[in-house]
């Protein structure tokens, strides 16, 4: 009973702090503190509810149990992280985004391709590409190569569509100005159109970060060597070792957030001039 009480108190305290924070004058500090308080409240309530109502470990392990498991299985988590995130997701992400960027330049150069390939690309971007995973495993084997391949396919189209849209972002006045400067295609591309495209390019890159991680993990359900996050999740669920599964989820969440955060940081540096970057 006391744990339930703890959960209720934690919730009330967290809520009142946040209400108080929202009444303060807006500042960086409050904007940072508020979500942190919310997150801590969530964890405290989770812990209290799981212990208070004596919820089965299989259903939902308490945060403290997950943290303990996380600390004791660091070596496993690290091996899985390297296999799935570094080898699978990251290499696929780089290849996929790079290829999409070059394809977008080609599409932009040739209007015929733009009219033909772009609708097809838009269509493919909305498809459940994750379903390609079994085919990729069949083609490229069980290793990380097949995971990288599915990541390439998954990030390619969002990146392509965004980059092509970005290359059209500069308006005709600006292009005319470049022409009066006697700038050729390449110079206009480098000095005007690529910089103008950057907000869109980063939009594609940011969408790609989560897709890459998801693709790499899900592809492991269709066959993988005896390591990797997807492999560990599916086998641990089978053994009802739910604390280890949640530890993997924590790793995935941290990796995903960090990946996205790095991209957002680079975006802020590169496109500092864009209105959306002003606070």
């Amino acid at each position: 009973m006391s744990w339930v009480l703890f959960a209720i108190v934690a919730w009330l305290v967290g809520l009142s702090i946040n209400v108080w924070l929202a009444r303060q004058k807006p500042s960086r500090w409050a904007a940072l503190a508020s979500p942190i308080v919310f997150g801590l409240t969530l964890i405290a309530v989770w812990e209290g509810v799981v212990r208070g109502f004596d919820i089965n470990q299989v259903l939902l392990p308490a945060p403290s149990v997950i943290a303990a498991r996380f600390a004791t299985s660091l070596d496993i988590l690290w091996v899985d992280f390297v296999q799935t995130v570094i080898k699978g997701a990251l290499s696929g992400y780089i290849i996929g985004c790079g290829a999409a960027f070059l394809t977008a330049l080609a599409i932009d150069r040739f209007p015929f391709l733009q009219r033909g390939l772009l609708p097809v690309g838009n269509f493919v971007a909305a498809l459940p590409i994750i379903g390609m995973a079994p085919i990729m495993v069949m083609w490229f084997g069980f290793g990380w190569q097949s995971k990288a391949a599915i990541v390439v396919v998954m990030v390619f189209f969002p990146m392509l569509v965004n980059t092509v849209q970005g290359l059209q972002a500069s308006d005709s006045m600006q292009r005319d100005l470049m022409r009066t400067y006697a700038a050729g295609y390449w110079r206009t591309l480098l000095k005007l159109r690529l910089p103008a495209a950057m907000p869109f390019v980063f939009n594609g890159l940011k969408i790609g970060t989560t897709l890459a991680l998801i693709g790499a993990i899900v592809a492991e359900f269709f066959g993988s060597p005896v390591l990797g996050m997807g492999f560990r999740i599916s086998t641990s669920v089978g053994q009802l070792a739910l604390d280890l599964v949640w530890a993997e989820i924590v790793v995935a969440a941290i990796a995903g957030s960090a990946f996205y955060g790095i991209m957002a940081l680079v975006e802020g540096r590169v496109t500092f001039w864009h209105p959306s970057q002003r606070s």
Binding site: N18, R115, A126, P134, I135, T209, I217, V218, F221
Partner: protein
């Protein structure tokens, strides 16, 4: 209409590449079989063989087409071997999850726009929630819910909901905030209450954003439903077909399930586009 020719060219090119890739990928197997039978294949024999194998690495388009015809038109709709039946199973989970996700997303967006506390404390977590690869833990959710007696449609729908609520939240927050200061001031000079401003100004002006989010959300829902079907040995649905096909090396089955999923996604996105056009027209916005 002027796009038809380029699109057809690109699609035609894709099919040609597909046939070519089928030859390249399946050639090894064809040569191995021929070598064991002490034969050498001429080029035309090789091509014919690569386009008609039972378990090719890459089935040729006409094989997939034949399989699709076989499993959709030739089978009874209620039969477990009919692809229409599997598509229906997936669609029902997708639809339920999509409706739940849209409702949740819209409610959250309204809360975030109207309540500063929610805006400050929840919005970052809504974004962070999407960096957790829910698809990766979908199997766990299904298994765990199965353990407490929840099975069938709902667990899959929950995963679909989780994937589709995010685009709706983001789009609706943006949409509900899209009226500019002038319009809001106008409402104030009319002495409109918060609710009146919401119903008469904010909600209508969020509609274009709403429909764009729905299109993204419905595609995400489908992905969620398909992945939700993979664990626990689900026997029905497009995801189950994919998994079974991958276990038994039935590539033709995988490809036909994939094409069916693609068609389903296209139809759903198209339907929303249709509703969007009609709605926006009647609201005088298109």
């Amino acid at each position: 209409m002027r796009n038809i020719f380029p699109i057809l060219t690109v699609v035609g090119l894709l099919i040609v590449v597909w046939y070519g890739a089928a030859v390249a990928l399946n050639a090894q197997w064809a040569r191995d079989v021929a070598a064991r039978a002490d034969k050498t294949l001429t080029f035309s024999e090789l091509v014919a063989d690569t386009w008609s194998q039972d378990k090719p690495k890459l089935p040729a388009p006409h094989q997939v087409g034949a399989e699709l015809w076989e499993t959709t038109v030739m089978k009874k709709v209620t039969s477990k071997r009919s692809l229409v039946y599997h598509t229906w199973v997936t669609f029902s989970a997708t639809f339920l999850g999509f409706v739940m996700g849209t409702a949740l997303g819209t409610l959250l967006a309204v809360g975030i726009v109207f309540n500063r506390t929610m805006d400050m404390s929840m919005m970052p977590w809504v974004i962070a929630s999407q960096t957790i690869p829910i698809l990766a833990i979908a199997p766990m959710i299904i298994v765990v819910l199965n353990a407490v007696g929840l099975s069938g449609l709902l667990p899959k729908a929950i995963i679909s909901m989780y994937l589709s609520f995010f685009p709706v939240v983001v789009g609706m927050v943006k949409g509900l905030r899209s009226p500019d200061q002038m319009q809001l001031d106008q409402m104030r000079t009319w002495h409109a209450s918060g609710w009146q401003t919401f119903w008469k100004l904010r909600l209508p002006s969020s509609m274009p954003y709403f429909f764009t989010s729905l299109k993204v959300g419905v595609a995400a829902s489908l992905v969620g439903a398909i992945v939700g079907e993979m664990p626990t040995g689900a026997v029905a649905g497009l995801g189950a077909r994919l998994l079974a096909g991958s276990y038994y090396g039935q590539t033709v089955q995988i490809w036909s399930a994939l094409l069916m999923a693609a068609a389903l996604a296209a139809v759903m996105v198209g339907l929303i586009g249709l509703i969007q056009r009609v709605t926006l027209k009647r609201m005088g916005m298109a």
